[in-house]
């Protein structure tokens, strides 16, 4: 059973995808790195951010790696390029 989540894109990632947000169906049991790879499959230009990006899952930062993200239907995930607030 795939899960539908809402993906938000900010800053450079919004430029690269041409989107601010989209609904995405993802397979269960993904790690954060696998979730990232799903997004890169949809938007190959995102791959240039690989070494300088983290995700936010339900508004908590998650680096790209082996930890499972345990997505539930309707969860919000955001692509977070390097911060530059202040």
């Amino acid at each position: 059973m795939n899960t539908e989540i809402l993906v938000l894109y900010f800053a450079k990632s919004a430029e690269l995808t041409g989107l601010r947000s989209e609904n995405v169906r993802v397979p269960p049991g993904l790690t954060s790195l696998q979730l990232w790879e799903e997004l890169v499959t949809r938007h190959p230009r995102l791959s240039m951010l690989r070494t300088q990006v983290v995700l936010a899952v339900r508004e908590e930062y998650v680096p790209l790696g082996d930890q499972p993200v345990r997505l539930q239907e309707g969860d919000e995930v955001a692509v977070i390029p390097p911060l530059s607030g202040g």
Partner: protein, 157 residues
């Protein structure tokens, strides 16, 4: 101004309007405090020799607010006498010399609020999901990266 000396307040505003130092200092002043320390981040007119005409900010607003609240909790843990904490961050276009962020912190004595303001701006730059793009006079624009951000220019440290 907080005329009635109520409990400590955490004040956050992400706004497209022009920021005001008086608004921030009034919002944190309180009768039992002798000190208000503030930091104002303003737009610089140059970057590596390129003339910056303006900056444009965007935020993951709900998460920015929750990350700011985490910073505020940490401040209250480190400096328990801190009274009110206020962060106003501007979004959208910010012209050169105008403020993009104003932090105001009050405390009975000055050391706590001075240290807390410094901590707050450092933490804000490291963890609050806000982004700025510099728009140059001639050569387009570029997204900035805070050196304080843990995943700038590499994997998460």
């Amino acid at each position: 101004m907080n005329d009635i000396d109520s409990g400590p307040q955490d004040l956050i505003e992400l706004t497209h309007d022009k920021l005001s130092a008086d608004a921030v200092s009034d919002s944190v002043s309180c009768p039992s405090c002798g000190a208000v320390s503030m930091f104002i981040g303003t737009t610089r007119d140059n970057f590596e020799g390129k003339k910056v005409v303006q900056l444009e900010y965007e935020a993951y607003i709900s998460m920015a607010e929750s990350e700011l609240k985490k910073i505020f909790s940490k401040i209250r843990e480190k400096w328990p006498t801190v009274r009110h904490i206020c962060v106003h961050h501007r979004l959208g276009i910010v012209p050169v010399t105008e403020a993009s962020v104003i932090i105001g912190i009050s405390s009975p004595h000055r050391t706590e609020s001075l240290e807390a303001v410094q901590y707050c701006i450092n933490a804000l730059k490291a963890t609050v999901p806000i982004w700025k793009r510099e728009i140059y006079e001639n050569e387009g624009s570029s997204w900035k990266e805070n050196k304080e951000c843990l995943w700038t220019g590499g994997t998460m440290k």
